[in-house]
Symmetry: C2
Subunit: 455 residues, 2 copies
């Protein structure tokens, strides 16, 4: 049985058999203690064994990391931290770890554990983080599927240069002499996608409500704790949604995920609350119920300017003016100090946003929305999409985008166009926010960053 | 409201308002008929409008593909194929399609529709296929999550050459003069993954039960109807599973998916049964209950040899002998003619299988299992993994694999190794099997194949 099952309703005297990995083995002359975990729960099994065990000598030498099969009897221990212990009647070592097993009982730094990413999920911290990642991923599917959204797998290899932004990786083949062939396989230059949005938009025109959930890529030389070269995005797109509908959907989705994780990852969150971010559970409870703030970009500029003018804050960039592309310092000050809550910022200046965003009647802003959250900054970015063929062509021109490269996308406006809105949620940023981990390398199983391609 | 909702409990005289896309507009002098669909269901809304409508003239000219808002009253029509029609009180054209809208009412070939992949989900066939794809994807998550499997996002960009098989795409960056830089970004050569298995195996050592669900890639010049350059795989891995457990898990997973789709995609399956593969629903019902056959590879060779010797069949390759890598013709004959059922084939010769598969005591076969299904051939491939460090090193040597390239993976056998088994399911092949579509290009939203990179 799994150790997770042992914890469901342990009864005094119950006979149990289970497998697990040794976390520690504290051997005495007559009584010894083994701590075993099998990854199905944060909880360990505490095993007591005595010198009446026929292989006592041998058992007391089992190394950390080894796999053991335990037979024994449950003894309830209501006055100790763990609710029960196992009195072993048999301990068998199924596979012995070498002495140089890299995860000994002491504390290891996150940096060290990144170098052994193939093993780090065996530690409690990463067991919790990756379990929560899995639960959150499933929560996202449940949220959208229960509302009849269609899951669309948008392509990874693409010839679109979607946003005119984000550096792209090239996809190539090699000839027999190992020379790169850049256009040979597809008859054109191929890249790794930076976003599935344009492809998803076409499907929203067919199904009304769709979402993607897949990997995206950036070939930028970013060495920050919030950027990775490969990360997963969720990109919902809904025909007929307005900016307000979009905001409602973002908030509903996030609250659903927070509630789901609070319900289904109790042990994991409690562990992280104690060891990684104090107050984590309370933060998530608040996030799953409180109302998020909505500010226009113009209001934000005013508020930040006032704070600078009144010397309430000193940013690295104090030149706050309409047209400024907000930095993380501004975003975090807004939601951490001014609003003390997740904050939607709407109607950004058109010049700092993507070509496909819907131009507002003022002709200087677009119907965009970003969600900024304390500790992270931008978590979600979205917009209404420009529905007018002519306006979209004009935006391409103004922004130096060759519309023939994206004709299939732009032409959607000629083939009967529902208006449409959607957003992108960076999955790793969400997991950082939920787990309290502060480096993106620690929330994705095998992180890819510049100069770093292990495993 | 969605047209899907209209169909839930239509009541005579109910007033309704909805949006949709025009499938056809058959205009008469006094009475006209509009067929509208919004993608939320296979069913269309049939709208009757008469010359008392204030914009009758205008409405009768609305083109196919355009977006309309309809207000009207439900009139039940129990003696007609559709259960109700809408008597329109208002028809407003929200966005007009151009006259050259590529999806006119006539039948279009699948080949033609591939060239307009951004629009094809608007047709009934592709609406059904991609809805089923979404439902099946969710069913897979439900199946594994309900059994406490942890979903692991294994990396897409990799430096592993996982199976020593499968041609890989290279991942590069470009310098400012557009010259390819093959090792610059990561300081080593990078490729697109052909399988997440090795990475998932390491996580199974931590969590016991894990699964992946993500894109994988092959740079092979395959122009068949069953191969794509980019496709999605599901790769579960379970610590302590034997070959028999693995077979049980495969069968349970498939039956769960078939049942789920039968329950949640009734309309879509009925449409495909009528238009794509006669008997589809019955096939899936049978597949979700019947017992699948299990044969050893040795038995299969005997049966095929006997069939050839008795002139019951004439393969392109009639040289049936132990060691033969079964072709699709052999696989299909086995499950379509001999067994007439999905067939697990076990214990293949080691020389035709991957290095990581567990060597059987006979030392000539490995504990591998493929699932072959009628009409498709191989749907699933899996195995127990070699747990012995020494044997695995020896297999690498025999197969010309440099073990230092995969040291992190091979070393798992030194760090306390649960035995482990898992498999890979090609998601597109599964969707072909469920929908009856015979070309892989028609079950993935934007297919990528050699010389083909559109959208």
């Amino acid at each position: 049985m799994d150790i997770r099952e042992l914890y469901i309703k342990p009864q005094e005297g119950d006979k149990v058999t289970f497998l697990g990995r040794v976390r520690s083995n504290r051997a005495g002359k007559k009584v010894s203690f083994l701590v075993v975990n099998d990854g199905t729960t944060m909880n360990d099994a505490q095993i007591v064994y005595k010198d009446d065990l026929k292989n006592y000598e041998e058992a007391s030498k089992i190394r950390v990391g080894s796999i053991v099969e335990i037979q024994g009897t449950i003894h309830l221990t209501p006055d100790r931290p763990q609710p029960f212990e196992i009195q072993a009647t048999s301990i068998e070592c199924l596979d012995e770890a070498i002495e140089a097993y890299p995860l000994q009982k002491k504390e290891h730094s996150l940096e060290y554990l990144r170098e052994i990413a193939q093993l780090r999920a065996r530690t409690k911290t990463f067991n919790a983080v990756f379990k929560i990642r899995s639960i959150a991923a499933f929560a996202i599917h449940k949220f959208f599927q229960s509302q009849n959204f269609v899951y669309v797998n948008t392509p990874i290899i693409t010839s679109n240069d979607a946003e005119g932004a984000g550096e792209e990786f090239g996809v190539i083949t090699y000839d027999s002499k190992n020379n790169p062939l850049t256009t040979d396989f597809f008859n054109k230059k191929a890249s790794l996608t930076v976003s599935g949005q344009l492809n998803a938009e076409a499907f929203a025109q067919a199904f009304k409500k769709v979402y993607t959930f897949g990997p995206t890529f950036r070939a930028e030389q970013s060495f920050t704790s919030r950027h990775a070269s490969e990360f997963w995005m969720i990109e919902p797109e809904v025909a007929f949604n307005t900016l307000e509908d979009n905001i409602e959907l973002i908030e509903a989705m996030l609250k659903y995920i927070f509630k789901d994780v609070l319900e289904n990852a109790k042990e994991e969150l409690e562990f992280l609350d104690e060891n990684v971010e104090k107050g984590l559970v309370q933060k998530l409870e608040k996030l799953s119920t409180e109302k998020y703030v909505v500010n226009t970009y113009e209001q934000v500029i005013e508020m930040l300017k006032k704070a600078v003018d009144n010397k309430e804050v000193n940013f690295e960039n104090n030149d706050i003016h309409f047209g400024l592309d907000l930095g993380t310092e501004h975003e975090r000050y807004l939601c951490e100090v001014i609003n003390k809550a997740p904050t939607f910022v709407t109607n950004y200046p058109k010049d700092i946003k993507a070509f496909y965003m819907k131009l507002n009647p003022d002709e200087k802003t677009v119907a965009a929305v970003d969600l900024l959250v304390p500790g992270i900054g931008e978590l979600v970015g979205g917009s209404e999409r420009e529905g007018s063929f002519d306006k979209l062509m004009k935006r391409c021109e103004q922004m130096g985008i060759d519309p023939t490269e994206l004709d299939w996308y732009i032409q959607l406006r000629q083939y009967g166009y529902y208006k449409s809105a959607g957003f992108g949620l960076g999955f790793e940023r969400l997991i950082m926010y939920i787990t309290g981990m502060t480096n993106i390398r620690d929330v994705i199983p095998y992180p890819r960053t510049p100069k770093n391609l292990l495993f």
